[in-house]
């Protein structure tokens, strides 16, 4: 039973990659959902869970394009274990620190991703990086922040309903 939530997260990643990505993408910015979920798991669970979940999320991410199978598994597994270790080591409890960690994690995730999947000439890297990945990182971090805020109870369905 303890694996059920993680399976649901994996299905969510598949669902997002298949259908939701079209609805949630704004211009060049998309949500790095797999990395975001891995970071959220890392912030709430231990190193081993984050590691294996990162590995599974990478597998799910790479599956439709098997020529890159393994890339996301390595990236997400490392991000998961490092984020969990940072959280444990620095005892990150405040929301700001957690959001910062998510932001940093997403940045780290976006660089090898860009190097692997994008084709660019000399001197174009910074331009392309600022155009797509940076916006995506900020957008994804914003979603992560909303998740934290909702989880902490600062925003809830009841509160939102009372506004209208």
């Amino acid at each position: 039973m303890r694996f059920v939530p993680y399976l649901l997260y994996l299905f969510l990643i598949a669902f997002y990659r298949t259908i939701l990505v079209e609805f949630f993408s704004i211009m060049w910015a998309e949500i790095y959902l797999s990395a975001l979920i891995v970071l959220l798991v890392a912030l709430n669970k231990d190193c081993l869970t984050a590691l294996w979940f990162g590995f599974a999320a990478g597998l799910i991410y790479d599956a439709p394009d098997p020529s890159y199978l393994g890339v996301h598994m390595i990236i997400l597994a490392i991000i998961g274990v490092v984020a969990a270790r940072i959280k444990d080591h620095f005892n990150l409890e405040s929301m700001k620190s957690r959001v910062l960690l998510v932001l940093a994690g997403l940045f780290v995730y976006s660089i090898p991703r860009l190097l692997l999947y994008s084709h660019f000439g000399k001197g174009e890297f910074v331009g392309i990086f600022l155009q797509g990945p940076v916006l995506s990182v900020i957008y994804s971090a914003l979603i992560g922040w909303i998740f934290f805020v909702m989880r902490s109870g600062r925003i809830s369905y009841k509160k939102l309903k009372s506004l209208f």
Binding site: F15, T18, F55, D65, S67, G70, I74, R85
Partner: protein, 263 residues
């Protein structure tokens, strides 16, 4: 202790698992297409298949919706065109019927359009779009393809008023086509159209066609007025009670023609 050293996990399990995960990932990354294809296919089948199916269904629904909208638009367009063609067909039929309509000798047909229809229940007066400027004159005969419709009662510059046979003021000298029995066609709200002044000694039967007699000098002779639908012979009265079914459908008037004398 330096924090950089303490950052790395002392728990061997984490190290072993990390190394194991990285090894599997590297193996998959470096493995041939056969292995990666198998793993990829298995994962896709397990996790992506329902969503692919859902996406296909959504795409089909969206395209079906677009197709339905396009079909609806073309249906509206086609039904409009069909109505237009039906109108043309009807007009064609009317004009063909008119081609077979031979006006009485010395008369020509002047087509005219109805502008307004008046009358309670059944129309009894119509306004047509031709008047004095078109050489329309009072008491000219008005027909349609089925027979006598009425006469011009008033003429203005561009318009004229036509009294239909359903107008009580419009009376027509008529005769039964078969037996040449004469009478006057009248119309009243109670009796509807009837042939008056036809003596009971005369030969009038149900189904006889009634035509204009030409007497009175207004209507030319031989125009169809209607058909006899009932013949009563009331006692102590001199004339028949003859009811006529008009040849012209006054509720469905569309085009009228004026019989103008050829100069």
């Amino acid at each position: 202790m330096d924090w950089r050293l303490s950052f790395f996990p002392r728990d061997k399990r984490v190290v072993i698992h990390t190394v194991f995960v990285l090894l599997i990932s590297l193996v998959l990354l470096l493995a041939g297409q056969r292995v990666t294809g198998f793993v990829g296919n298995a994962t896709v089948t397990l996790f992506y298949y329902p969503f692919f199916k859902l996406k296909n269904t959504i795409s089909r629904l969206v395209s079906a919706g677009q197709e339905t909208r396009a079909l609806r638009a073309s249906l509206i367009e086609l039904s409009t065109r069909l109505q237009f063609f039906n109108e043309m067909l009807e007009e064609n039929r009317r004009l063909r019927a008119l081609l077979g309509f031979v006006p009485p000798a010395g008369f020509k047909i002047v087509p005219t359009e109805i502008v307004r229809v008046r009358g309670s229940g059944i129309p009894n007066t119509v306004l047509i779009n031709m008047g004095d400027e078109d050489s329309i004159r009072v008491n000219q005969t008005v027909v349609n393809r089925n027979g006598l419709a009425g006469r011009v009662a008033r003429v203005m510059n561009d318009y004229s008023v036509v009294y239909l046979l359903t107008e009580p003021r419009c009376r027509v000298a008529a005769r039964v086509k078969r037996s040449r029995e004469q009478g006057i066609i009248r119309y009243s709200m109670i009796r509807r159209m009837y042939l008056d002044n036809s003596p009971q000694q005369g030969d009038v039967k149900i189904g006889d066609t009634v035509i204009t007699s030409g007497l009175g000098g207004i209507f030319p002779e031989g125009l169809v007025i209607g058909t006899v639908t009932s013949v009563d012979s009331p006692k102590r009265e001199f004339f028949y009670n003859i009811t006529i079914e008009p040849a012209v459908n006054f509720n469905g008037l569309d085009e009228l023609y004026i019989l103008a004398r050829e100069d």
